[in-house]
């Protein structure tokens, strides 16, 4: 309820900025008038009374700003202002804007593509149960002068699979 009222007040300030600013002005104006009236009753002339009231009040412009800081659109309004300002600047320099936007687009595209690649090759786990226990097996034959490496034969694979002692699963690839 309280939050809803606060959000409504902020929203109203966003949509009707002048209304909120005007309300603050009217409220401060009322105060100054009342104080001046009180001074006038003590015998000051209208101008002096007004001056004395203003002195006692402090800077109206400052108070108005500080009041608007609390009652205005707040952070959202500032962000919107920045966004509008940004769009205007982009519009003023279409060439530079186009280059900047293209550079950003290329950068984002390239990063995404690279990440997809690295993710598929390096980061994603292999599609086997307990991939951290995976080993690859090659058969080495060592005649005197060189080493022959070959993949295990299908009959080896079948035997390991039946044994199920050294390895729990056997696959080929």
């Amino acid at each position: 309820m309280r939050v809803a009222r606060l959000v409504l007040a902020r929203l109203r300030a966003l949509l009707r900025r002048d209304a909120v600013a005007g309300e603050i002005r009217e409220e401060l104006e009322f105060h100054l008038d009342m104080r001046a009236e009180q001074y006038r009753q003590t015998g000051l002339c209208a101008a002096e009374a007004r001056q004395a009231a203003a002195r006692r009040f402090g800077s109206v412009a400052l108070i108005q700003d500080r009041g608007y800081d609390v009652r205005g659109g707040g952070v959202v309004e500032t962000i919107l202002q920045d966004a509008r300002y940004g769009m205007r600047l982009l519009g003023q320099h279409p060439g530079a804007s186009l280059v900047a936007i293209l550079a950003l687009a290329c950068g984002v595209g390239l990063s995404t593509a690279l990440f997809s690649l690295v993710e598929a090759i390096v980061l994603r786990a292999l599609p086997y149960p307990n991939p951290e226990q995976l080993v690859s097996v090659t058969i080495e034959a060592r005649p005197p002068d060189h080493i022959d490496r070959t993949a295990p034969s299908m009959s080896d694979v079948r035997r390991w699979r039946e044994l199920g002692r050294i390895v729990s699963h056997v696959g080929t690839g």
């Binding site: 007040a9 309300e23 401060l28 009322f30 105060h31 104080r35 006692r56 402090g58 800077s59 009041g67």
Partner: protein
């Protein structure tokens, strides 16, 4: 004015909220009436720059301690009237209690 007035308003800054809440406890009131009442109750010892009351009012309104609406005064002018909410009442009670604790402790130290 000058130096002493400034010190006064600095010291007052933290307590302004509490004083305003206290004044509004007696009933809804507009900003000008609050300053008049503040002057009467404190026998003009407490003088703030009157304008600084308004940002404080808006802040308390935003926190839900006060609710505000426009109404017409006796003299027929539109003014924004502030009213204590339930949350504001609780806040006043809490601030009053902690203020009394603080001043009692300070008085105790000063009189030792």
């Amino acid at each position: 004015m000058g130096r002493s007035a400034k010190t006064n308003s600095d010291q007052l800054h933290g307590t302004l909220d509490m004083l305003v809440l206290k004044i509004l406890q007696a009933g809804a009131s507009h900003g000008y009436a609050i300053t008049v009442r503040l002057g009467q109750l404190s026998r003009d010892v407490l003088q703030v720059e009157e304008g600084s009351l308004y940002p404080a009012l808006y802040r308390m309104e935003a926190r839900g301690w006060l609710s505000a609406e426009w109404a017409v005064t006796h003299s027929g002018r539109r003014a924004r009237f502030y009213k204590l909410t339930r949350v504001g009442r609780a806040q006043l009670a809490a601030e009053t209690a902690s203020w009394q604790r603080l001043t009692a402790a300070v008085a105790h130290v000063l009189s030792s």
